[in-house]
Symmetry: C3
């Protein structure tokens, strides 16, 4: 099976597809934005990457969510709940982890199935 | 390949199976219980979900364990070591992460193979 | 599909391969070593385990990196950037998580494709 990489850089790819499964790099929003806005930006980026990998949000298998502060759980969930495909929700886990810079409040890591 | 979801809610599914692989949501125990009891409840829930997905604990591929306090590593391991299939142990990683509520002390995320 | 386990112990395996995908246990370096040296040891161990699983570093799909202190991000990246296959970079996510012992500064979790 071939491996397809999307937005490869010298350090990492933004997505790597292998056979029928696609792994996305941890996505973050814009530093300084609110938790809700960062979450919106992340989910938009996820949709874009999934589209380029031949997948879409109805085919997400697993979402791992890191919050810099678990106090932001409800604010992140408000955006997530409005976005997720309610007929096709992924498995999910949320934990608290400081991120690459303190201004990043949310990071989401996706594994998805290719296909429409 | 079809995607099968177990216990889907408006936010997430408790397990998502795709082809021969199953991804479980992060499992937690009952708030306020001891680390050992939370771990026991988590592992029982994992067995139940794996069974419903057509898998079982001998077919776990990867376990990611989050502890709210790494000081609980030995107590969690005591329960894990008694439970794990010693002939078929998964890959595993354990890190410290505060969880969705402070009373949650352990969360375990599983990827497993379907089949018996 | 068969499941192949590498270095199984009573608690976990160092790698588990299922079909064309291999999951590595979280790898750590030697306690007390610098972040750079721990990262070098981890990446060498990853190459060794991938080789034994019939894979190699050009076929890494996803790398999840935990740093005990995000202040070590640049030092870890210096070693990573020199090591990663620039023609075949994986997806990647990095978060801060205390590890099993305070002397562990870095842990890396790999999912890779088998094949050459």
């Amino acid at each position: 099976m071939t491996i397809d990489r999307i937005e490869p850089s010298a350090r990492m790819s933004q997505a790597v597809a292998y056979g029928d499964t696609v792994y996305l790099a941890g996505q973050v929003g814009a530093p300084g934005e609110s938790v809700a806005n960062q979450t919106r930006a992340i989910l938009a980026e996820i949709e874009d990457l999934l589209g380029r990998a031949g997948s879409n949000k109805s085919r997400i298998l697993m979402a791992t969510i890191w919050l810099a502060d678990m106090a932001d759980f409800a604010e992140m969930n408000g955006v997530w709940d409005a976005w997720v495909d309610r007929d096709n929700p992924p498995a999910r886990a949320t934990g608290e982890a400081r991120l690459a810079a303190p201004e990043y409040r949310v990071e989401i890591i996706i594994v998805a199935a290719r296909g429409a």
